[in-house]
């Protein structure tokens, strides 16, 4: 087993991995950018190394700096978390070259699944169903026209190197094809430096369901059940659950076996996720494989009783899977909410800043994986994911009711969060009835929000509370600016940084 693991990440996932290390008796090495010195993952680590400026390219994405820290600290393995370098085959290769174990698949497996067209070719050979269309980049407009005509409109154009909705175009009919192809190509070139675009049939109102797989380095591959991830905003997942309300044991077995076949076709090891689109007839199609731990892995942990990060580490250290497919049993239901620093009342604008008050939920069936704390200033430089709140229940209804209860207990003061969005989702009749598809959330957000007239009693309470807070004055106020923090801190706080910069702009 490893003695020391470097966590090449920040935020809640870095804390998650540090906890797993401590549980396994392994020392945890954190890295941090200049604005992350006060971050929770630095507080919780055994060692912590600065790796440069706030911009990720200067720090968390800088392969050489991270390998330097690995060498200086004597770490024998690197956990990449998700995002940043987690799906970077070059990084995995550099780790291997430096004699440091990369906790994840091999660079070759990442390469095989990294390009969407290459992945489609691989699964095509393995006889896995994927959305009808080309499995190679389009060579010409004529080819696109021919394929689209054959599979039938509407079709999707997608960038081979794509992700996050970029380089993607929905084409309703032949008259749109030419301009859409050009637009998709130029966006793909701009976004990924790779203009390769392929075509596939557009599936209307699909569900996004993914299958967790786990493969050891001795040829054993298992699936751990699916996650329903249809609730997305701007192609970003917002709520995930396990199991999927529409997947029965037979469908789970079929999807699981396909996912294992995909993993084996790629020579896959460690934890990975095979994503599927599922149409309204419950037919499922391979979409892509994510070659890392997913943000939403906790829902699988809760319904299987397993710890995926422990298992990742054990697999990477050469151990065999400690169980077989038959031992994997799904029990109960789990739902995850991604708590973001963003303002639901203002078009989901990001909302960095200082957390002046934090009331965190706990109790039965509630798991909280968080990277924030009261008094911490959320920097503006990274993804706004603050924490994940996960509810478990005997069944889906109980998971929803526990999660709703916990969301009502959750309070983050000083910045805006999307906590109220989850209350809205969880109380929506279609969500309660599990009528989900990838368009669900956009439709919900477009609805004129039912402006329930405010409860007059609640207004009365607010008026009286306002008066009491005014009377109590400063003594009743929360942390606000922690005077000693900036001074004890090794650098100026991000907020004051911005102020200085803004001032410069104004006076020049």
């Amino acid at each position: 087993m490893f003695k020391k693991i470097l966590i090449a990440n920040r935020g809640e996932i870095a804390v998650r991995v540090i906890r797993a290390c401590h549980e396994m008796g392994i020392a945890a090495v954190a890295v941090y950018s200049d604005v992350d010195r006060p971050a929770l993952h630095v507080r919780k680590a055994d060692e912590a190394y600065p790796i440069g400026a706030a911009a990720a390219s200067e720090s968390y994405l800088n392969i050489q700096k991270i390998l330097d820290v690995a060498a200086r600290s004597g770490a024998d393995a690197v956990h990449p978390g998700y995002g940043f370098l987690s799906e970077n085959a070059k990084f995995a290769r550099a780790c291997a070259d430096a004699g440091i174990k990369f906790i994840g698949p091999t660079a070759a497996a990442m390469d095989a699944m990294g390009s969407k067209t290459r992945a489609r070719q691989a699964v095509e050979r393995a006889g896995v169903p994927f959305v009808p269309g080309t499995s190679r980049g389009l060579e010409s407009f004529e080819q696109a026209e021919e394929v689209a005509g054959r599979i039938g409109y509407p079709v999707m154009l997608k960038a081979a190197a794509g992700g996050g909705g970029k380089g993607m175009r929905l084409v309703h009919g032949p008259e749109e094809l030419k301009s859409s192809l050009e637009a998709a190509r130029s966006e793909a070139e701009r976004s990924f430096g790779d203009s390769e675009v392929y075509i596939e049939k557009a599936i209307l109102n699909p569900r996004h369901i993914e299958m967790q797989v786990l493969a050891d380095e001795h040829g054993n591959t298992v699936y751990l059940g699916e996650r329903e991830c249809s609730l997305q905003r701007r192609h970003q997942k917002v709520v995930e659950e396990a199991p999927s309300p529409i997947v029965d044991p037979d469908m789970r077995r079929r999807m699981g076996e396909v996912a294992v076949r995909v993993a084996q076709a790629a020579g896959y090891t460690n934890a990975g996720t095979v994503e599927f689109l599922v149409d309204q007839q419950k037919k499922f199609y391979f979409l892509e494989m994510n070659t890392r731990l997913q943000v939403e892995h906790p829902v699988t942990e809760l319904v299987t009783g397993l710890d995926l990060v422990h298992l990742q580490i054990r697999i990477a250290s050469g151990e065999r899977l400690p169980f077989t497919q038959d031992d994997v049993v799904i029990r109960g239901h789990a739902i995850e909410c991604r708590i973001y620093a963003e303002d639901p009342d203002n078009n989901y604008f990001p909302s960095p800043g200082k957390i002046t008050l934090l009331l965190a939920p706990s109790g039965p069936g509630i798991r909280r994986d968080s990277g924030m704390y009261e008094g911490w200033t959320v920097p503006m430089d990274y993804d706004p994911l603050l924490a994940k709140l996960i509810g478990y229940g005997t069944d889906r209804d109980q998971a929803i009711s526990r999660l709703t209860r916990a969301l009502n207990e959750y309070f983050v003061g000083g910045i805006k969060t999307n906590i109220s969005l989850f209350r809205r989702i969880l109380s929506d009749p279609d969500f309660r009835a599990a009528r989900l598809d990838t368009g669900f959330l956009d439709r919900l957000l477009k609805q004129k929000r039912a402006e329930a007239p405010a409860d007059p009693k609640a207004i009365e309470v607010a008026v009286i509370a306002a008066g009491i807070f005014a009377t109590l004055g400063a003594a009743a106020a929360g942390a606000g600016e922690l005077a000693a923090n900036g001074s004890a801190n090794s650098g100026p706080s991000p907020a004051s940084n911005w102020k200085i910069a803004a001032h410069k702009e104004a006076t020049r």
Partner: protein, 164 residues
């Protein structure tokens, strides 16, 4: 103490007195039985009669918001005997300031000074937390002034441009 408190556009008169650790309270002249404990800074455990509430107070840049359960109310508290806290009239007709809704960086200025805009025309793009956000004109008019340039770091509330 007497306060004029505005919530949701409606004004309430609150008379609040504390003696020997007990509050006495009149809301618009009506007596209300109030029992309050400050559990933590900004967290009040409030009883009106026997109904119990946990009220959280959010203070951002002088604004006070109160959370009652999962409802959030913006409150303006004024002492009618003092000038402090008098609300300035908002002039919808005059020049309007575009402010940064969050700290970030100006990545694009979409219109130039003097240009005409519609309500909803994008004026600038601010980037924060890997997201780009268009700041739109709140009204039809002319861009009187652009106060920032591309690449500038801005703080929440900074004035970015003025439309008139």
């Amino acid at each position: 103490m007497t306060y004029d408190i505005t919530i949701d556009g409606k004004q309430y008169r609150l008379d609040l007195n504390r003696a020997e650790g007990r509050w006495s309270c009149r809301l618009d002249g009506r007596e209300v039985e109030v029992d309050a404990v400050l559990a933590r800074p900004d967290v009040l455990s409030l009883r009106l009669g026997n109904l119990a509430y946990e009220v959280k107070c959010e203070r951002v840049a002088g604004d006070m918001h109160l959370w009652v359960g999962s409802s959030r109310f913006a409150a303006v508290v004024r002492d009618p005997r003092s000038l402090r806290g008098r609300v300035r009239a908002v002039d919808d007709q005059g020049p309007r300031k575009l402010t940064a809704p969050m700290p970030g960086k100006i990545v694009r200025v979409l219109v130039s000074q003097g240009a005409g805009v519609e309500a909803g025309t994008g004026v600038l793009v601010v980037e924060a937390m890997k997201m780009q956000n268009e700041i739109k004109s709140p009204k039809k008019g002319t861009i009187q002034k652009i106060l920032v340039s591309e690449g500038a770091a801005v703080n929440a509330g900074d004035v970015l441009a003025i439309v008139e």
